[in-house]
Amino acid sequence: MNELLPVFEWQQHVIAPWTTGLKSTLWIVLMGFFVATACGLLGNYLILRRMALVGDAISHSVLAGIGVAVVLALQLDTATLFIAALAAGMATTLIIEIIHRYTRVKQDAAIGIAFTSLFALGVILISFKSGKVHIDTECVLYGEVALVPLENFHLSLTPALVGAIDKLPMSEVYLRGNELVMAPDVVRMGFVALAVALLVWVFYKELLVSSFDPALAFSLGINATFVHYALMALLSVVVVSAFESVGAILVVAMLILPGATAHLLSARLPVILALTVLHAALGTLLGFHLATWLNCSIAGAFVVAGMALFLLAWLLSPHDGLLAQWHRRRNLKLEPPEEISSTSSAGN
């Protein structure tokens, strides 16, 4: 049989990446995990607020922000892109709010109007200057995960620190002599993921009550509108930090998949948040090895692995999983209440 799929070899596809190829494996897996965690945690609140597609909108309208930066002939360095994209994200949120509030257009349609318009605006602005700047649209959509392991962050350490860091696991990857060597994209995304996790933890009450019952939130002195905009700003930051390396498609998928999977497995928000992080870790690992095996897009494999976990949760969830439902239906002996059974037997 001429294989459609390459032969799966345990040694080559699972062991080797963690031994000989450890350096790039570690950075890529960490990057995927950080992106999925940051997106997944925020995504939970988007799902609860029925705003799942707002992340989609923000990730697309980032192009308008880049377009404005290009037309203003700004340097396209990370800081500029960051501010431009953050502004675009906030603009998207505002436009959705304004259309939704001041017209009859419902929120989902308003989202559709806002991000397609901003995306188109970005396309036009960039095409003005297309000769002078290089914007790789493929990169915007699919990202360049393979470039993630580029280590150009070096930091000299004192001997005491070297000694301490040397004891950490996998220190051969990030410790060279007395220098700490890191992939800057991964470090940045790590900080973003950590910030998101901290904010979700610190503002747990505020996020919970303003998502569940905004009117009660106001009566408790929690400004639900402010929480909404803060959430959107944070979402913009996450989308921008992630999409340069992993692409808009992975970002959008990771906003929904981990949270949606966790929702199938639990009905308690703290458990759901923990499961989201678990999904991020498992999905990234599985996806990475899938990509190594099939030699395919890493970002794509992350999403496919995340989807596989979602299907697995759907099948196995203890309460409303397919198997549990099937099992319950098989073992269910319905005994009709007295009065109904007597009337129906009389009818027969």
Partner: protein, 260 residues
């Protein structure tokens, strides 16, 4: 936070002055002037679209006012949030939300907690007492989607009790609940009133309105009448509140007849 009881008279729990609220240029409330004294159990009565819920939301500072002002204990609502408790309409929230009954009642304590503070043991005990009062303690760890309509309403009531406020706004707490829940709510309303709390309750059922409340606010965009139930629950006043709606008018006639 305890309020210093001084010899000076405390300002009224709730005061509206020339309040006007409009949605998209269409006025919903027009020129509301009202003062609710302490310890009153007020039923807000009026036809659909009369602005009953809007009045409550305006009082709580949830809406932009077109003119006028609202004061809670003599201050803008923002300064007295802790003294206000709220029971929203049951349909206003998503009951599939991944929280337990206990979590929802604990939300009532959030106003008493600082930033980053989690509910303490004391807060949990208060929440448990409140659940006990509405006979929902056995359900404390249930996911809220597994509750019946009446149980959902009782959870909301327990949450409002946990707020330990001085004035309560309740939006249709009797809508679609079973008889047992209805009588449980009435009992609690009267207990709160006996403790000197002030309660404003949107109510849609005329025949029970005169039993449940000791004063009524008849509302149809404007205040048609406000006063003790026996003075306000009159055919002509109800007729002008409900306008020419025949089905309701017969209900009014029925209700007034029952009363006499």
């Amino acid at each position: 936070m305890s309020v210093n009881v001084t010899k000076t008279v405390e300002p009224p729990p709730l005061e509206f002055h020339d309040l006007t609220v409009a949605y998209h240029k269409r006025p919903v409330l027009w020129g509301i002037d009202l003062e609710i004294p302490k310890g009153q159990l007020v039923g807000i009565i009026g036809p659909n679209g009369a602005g009953k819920s809007t009045l409550i939301k305006a009082a709580m500072g949830l809406l932009q006012l077109n003119s006028g002002w609202v004061k809670v204990f003599g201050e803008p609502i923002g300064k007295n949030l802790k003294r206000v408790g709220y029971v929203p309409q049951r349909e206003s929230v998503d009951w599939d939300f991944p929280v337990s009954v206990m979590d929802v009642v604990l939300m009532g304590r959030y106003g008493h907690l600082g930033l980053m503070r989690r509910p303490s043991k004391k807060d949990r005990n208060i929440a448990r007492d409140c659940l006990e009062k509405v006979k929902m303690l056995p359900y404390a760890n249930r996911q809220i989607s597994n509750l019946s309509g009446g149980q959902q309403q009782r959870v909301f009531l327990a949450r409002a009790l946990a707020q330990e406020s001085d004035i309560y706004f309740m939006d249709e707490p009797f809508a679609g609940v079973d008889a047992a829940t209805e009588s449980a709510i009435v009992t609690i309303l009267h207990e709160l009133k006996a403790k000197g709390k002030t309660l404003l309750v949107v109510h849609h059922d005329l025949p029970t309105a005169k039993e449940y409340f000791d004063s009524l606010l008849l509302l149809n965009m404007r205040v048609v009448a406000y006063g003790p139930t026996e003075e306000v629950f009159k055919y002509d006043l109800l007729q002008s509140t409900y306008g020419g709606r025949l089905t309701i008018l017969s209900e009014v006639a029925e209700a007034v007849r029952e009363k006499s």
